[in-house]
Symmetry: C2
Subunit: 128 residues, 2 copies
């Protein structure tokens, strides 16, 4: 089982991150190795710091107005291998090792399990 | 040279997309084949429709308050191979073939060329 590895961030790197009017920045989570995009969620300054310090992914839930550490309840933890910020500093990308059943609360491995257009993915055939 | 391929989206799929208070939804762009995450930008309902109809990526620029078609000026076009929406319908993912010099206006191939922590990427050694 992998463990959380602290990322030694510099003040300059942290200052390069710009948060929106609500103090949030979108964070894309991608699986190490496969390159699969697993999810997107929001971080504030504290959850970003927590993520870099603990090597686990921490987010800010806009609906529940609280911090959450991915997998703390479900066991489907994410261990950060690398973190990036984009050219404008207003989007983050974390490459992680995904534990357990995947990233999506629906039970799917990735949150992006539904595609536009004719259904080509057997996982997205469920009727609603 | 690849061309834009229309995605035959259903009304149900379009209705599953939820836009924020500003009428926007974040769209992650990932390179087909390599799985590399190239950029994140915002779409409104019209740019999403345009993207699905033309097979090129269209966004809404919040700073310029205008539509833009990626690569229309630079030539660094993106041809959509697949589009996904996430479990909450509030984030999109487009898998594209990237033409030209890449996705970033800085000249880097991906917008996520700077990592947190000790510098391990020779592409991110530039001084500011």
């Amino acid at each position: 089982m992998p463990d959380g590895k602290r990322i030694m961030v510099t003040p300059e790197q942290l200052e390069a991150v710009s948060f929106n009017a609500d103090g949030l920045v979108p964070a894309i989570v991608q699986e190490a190795g496969t390159g699969r995009v697993l999810m997107m969620a929001w971080m504030n300054a504290d959850s970003l710091r927590q993520t870099l310090e603990t090597g686990r992914t921490w987010f800010w839930s806009r609906s529940r107005q609280e911090y959450w550490c991915k997998g703390e309840t479900s066991g489907d933890r994410q261990y950060v291998r690398q973190g990036y910020y984009d050219c404008d500093g207003d989007t983050l990308l974390f490459v992680v090792e995904q534990e357990g059943n995947g990233a999506c609360h629906t039970g799917e491995y990735s949150c992006f399990f539904r595609s536009f257009g004719p259904d080509t993915d057997p996982a997205s055939t469920s009727e609603s």
